[in-house]
Subunit: 217 residues, 2 copies
Amino acid sequence: MVTQEDRHEPIDVAMVPEVVVQRLPLYVRVLGQFASAGIEVISSEQLGAQLQMTPAQIRKDLSYFGRFGKQGRGYDVGNLAARLRSILGLDERWNAVLIGMGRLGRAVASYPGFEPEGFRIVAAFDADERLVGHQVGSLRVQQLSELPETVSTRDIKIGIVTVPAAYAQDVINELVRSGVKAILNYAPIAPSVPPDVRVQGVDPVMALQSMTFYLKD
Amino acid sequence: MVTQEDRHEPIDVAMVPEVVVQRLPLYVRVLGQFASAGIEVISSEQLGAQLQMTPAQIRKDLSYFGRFGKQGRGYDVGNLAARLRSILGLDERWNAVLIGMGRLGRAVASYPGFEPEGFRIVAAFDADERLVGHQVGSLRVQQLSELPETVSTRDIKIGIVTVPAAYAQDVINELVRSGVKAILNYAPIAPSVPPDVRVQGVDPVMALQSMTFYLKD
């Protein structure tokens, strides 16, 4: 995949700004759209137009990960996408645990978008004894006391939290104690975690709230 | 609400970095958590610890919106929260339209988190003739040709897109043509919109993909 024009040093994770890392999945997606349209080479101008960024920002973002493409010729779409996928670990399979099996948890459990992208929910938990033992799709709801053992024996790196706000911090603490390093949080709280644990919120209300700033007359 | 220590000039929207605006809802949420815990005054250190930011970043973010609190005394939690809510337009009511009434759209329509925060889905659309006319909760599914008139007569500023990826850009174009200025996009694409239109994606896969970078061995 690596052509003569590309030079890649090992990446120093700590040197890459988090905001750049958070943009990379969007790059991957946009590059996939270009590839589907049969476009093989793109300029930073074209990428920038699609991502609402300046060409200079695009070049700066990508510079953290090596040299891509040839001066003045643009980026090889397939090559850049493959390299970014590898950098993000998207070619690997990731096991996840889901905590909170109410309506939201069950919707998340049946979401068809995770599996094709390499994310697999392999265990489900709930604090409510009445839900424990129930089958949700291919998952049997377990009790929370079994969390640490399940995380370690099933090689689980990701926790998905779909409990009500009032319980979310406690559940996240449990996940952290069990060794989970990445948490997808659907609960409407801003949780505290140690510095080596990542949290991403999936929160439609917060997304709306960041846009109304621009809607006011 | 404005105390003697606070000075607020009119805010120049174009001067505020978008990343700062996107953090404000999180500030509001964290301040709400402090208030619920009975905490009336907080330092930028305490806010920063909760938001995983440095105190200097906190002070810089807030400096775009005026002077808050008194040097060395910290921020008045209630006062700061009220001011940020007003800046974000969170005290207003916002009408939204939902497009795509498949499984995801119906789940979004019944999501209980929007209404208490001032967001109200007042109309629903689908391109599938078989769904048009059906009742989903309090909404009657309309055909897409009625979108422009509904947007203008019902004072709709926000569009929520829950159609499959292949149709999302077309639907977003329709929303833009109808005058919608803020779009909450659940479809896994990076859509193109004019510069005066905001888009926020709600995409759990993309959130996961931005964390696996840190999980790789």
